[in-house]
């Protein structure tokens, strides 16, 4: 248990470092991430470029630093969209019941009938390649999972004595939802969101790698890997560093998510 906590702390520290690096990118970056200098193309890591330069002579380290902001910002935005939609429809469905519940549940069931990545790929593909469209596509697919879990929690909470008591005191539905139901579902949802953050980063960078997400010259990690693919034999650093950046970031969120889950989940003792 102690080990888990310590690992979660390590995850948190890595996340703080990454977020800070992303925010301070304009100060930390040794070069302009978009500055093209063809005379300095494919320079190996060394004095001039710490992590080397890419096929257009751009500094890989600077691009990675700016890319941190791109990846984190998009992932947090997607998570925000997912949670807003999930909480809204999940609460609506669970609290109101009846016809509204039936309609929302049917929509959820239909969306869950698709393999997630396939549907996201299709929506992004139909809308056309761009980072915004990828974000819309991922959010459109992912919110259903949250809505379903939240609906279940709301249904179990709404029969609790304190909700009945609040209703007896004359609170209206909106007050009950905001004051009594939402605070009780928030912490498990935050755990879930932390655990999901990793997979969202992976999906965004994966779709960008396919060329659907961030468009050049935007320094997104997945897109950088895609750019460097052609040169991976002569300039392997173009492939190693962006991949490593994704791996470390996703790992940090997974570490923290695992730790938080054990803290909040009473079944954690069983899971060992």
């Amino acid at each position: 248990m102690l080990l888990k906590d310590r690992l979660a702390l390590v995850g948190l520290i890595i996340i703080v470092v990454i977020v800070t690096a992303g925010m301070l990118a304009p100060r930390l970056a040794p070069h302009d991430p978009l500055h093209i200098d063809l005379s300095l193309r494919l320079e190996p890591p060394g004095k001039q470029f710490i992590l080397g330069s890419d096929h257009l002579g751009r500094c890989v380290l600077s691009r990675l630093l700016y890319g941190t902001g791109v990846s984190l910002k998009t992932s947090f935005l997607v998570l925000g969209m997912i949670m807003t939609a999930g909480i809204f429809f999940g609460t609506l469905s669970g609290y109101c019941g009846g016809l509204i519940d039936n309609i929302i549940i049917s929509v959820i069931d239909v969306l869950l009938a698709f393999p997630g990545l396939v549907l996201a790929l299709a929506i992004a593909g139909m809308l056309g390649p761009s980072l915004t469209n990828v974000m819309i596509a991922i959010a459109a697919v992912h919110w259903v999972g949250y809505a379903r879990i939240i609906r279940g929690m709301v249904i179990s909470i709404k029969e609790k004595e304190y909700v009945l008591a609040a209703r007896a005191c004359g609170s209206n539905s909106l007050q009950i939802v905001i004051r009594h139901i939402l605070p009780n579902i928030l912490s498990p949802i935050i755990v879930l969101a932390t655990l999901d953050m990793g997979s969202i980063i992976l999906t965004i960078s994966g779709l960008s790698f396919l060329g659907l997400g961030a468009q050049p010259p935007n320094p997104e990690w997945g897109a950088m890997l895609n750019d460097g693919r052609t040169y991976m034999q002569v300039a392997p650093w173009l492939m190693y560093f962006p991949g490593l950046a994704i791996l470390v970031t996703v790992m940090a969120f997974n570490l923290m998510g695992d730790g938080l889950r054990d803290l909040f989940d009473p079944r954690s003792l069983r899971r060992l």
């Binding site: 698709f114 396939v118 809308l127 997945g222 996703v250």
Partner: protein, 314 residues
Amino acid sequence: MSYYIIKRLSYLFLVMLGVSILTFGLSRLTPGDPAELVLATRGVEPTREAISAIRQELGLDVPLPVQYVRWTKKLLQGDLGRSFRTGQPVSREIASRFPATVQLTLAGLLVMLCIAIPTGILAAIFKNTIPDHCSRVFALVGASIPSFWLGLLLITWFAVRIPLFPVMGRGTVRHLVLPALALGVGMSARYARLLRASLLEVLGQDYIRAARARGLREQLVILNNALKNALLPVVTAFGMSLGHLLGGTVIIETIFAWPGVGRFVVEAIFNRDYPVLQGYVLFMAVVFVLLNLAVDLSYRFFDPRIRLEGGQGK
């Protein structure tokens, strides 16, 4: 059981109805007029007459509900429309590439099982010792590594530096090794941990204690008595992650130039070949739903506890 199957099938029908409406709606997401797009791909000047002619040809001149009914009618006859680009029926294009995707998926599954089962068993036997810690690290890295990066690393190391395997394409078994690894390794991490947890739970049960008390050797207890029961939750989780596997092949196929449906659909996206994309989504949803049904039914079949509940009409 039969009651359950009927209930499940009628539910399936409703879901498929929803899936068809959603897929039909997907094509409305495209920016611009599809008629102009078809003209552009055919290289025809988009005059007003040409556009109205093509709208009639594509059936775009009638209201949406009518379009949907017409589309569904064709769909039920296995007609997914024609590719804008090649002019070939989408169903045929997908069918000709699907075996390659199935082959890759099965190979990925095999890799996953070959890694996950031994790792999971070892981690459970040596709980909280070095093998268990190693499996924990492996699980963390496996869950966090981007499959496309793993694919690139495998190509660099085992196809370029040490030319053990071909870089890309399909043909011999050796072509299959690297893409299957890229697909299977990441997933195996999760299943190893899942198997470990479920094994540990089973190993604490009375019948295992009884088997041990009868003096059976520990390996036999694990292999004969425990593993069979421990695999059940793994099978359920497996059904749920089939979607990941089906979606995951898209990226792996693109990296390794594997001639399956995944790579085909990525090309279609960049060619704005929307009928192909639409057909692919629908096809994958049908495959996914049927696979889940199969997993669900087999789970009920193998676990008598659930079979009984099902028989009582749950």
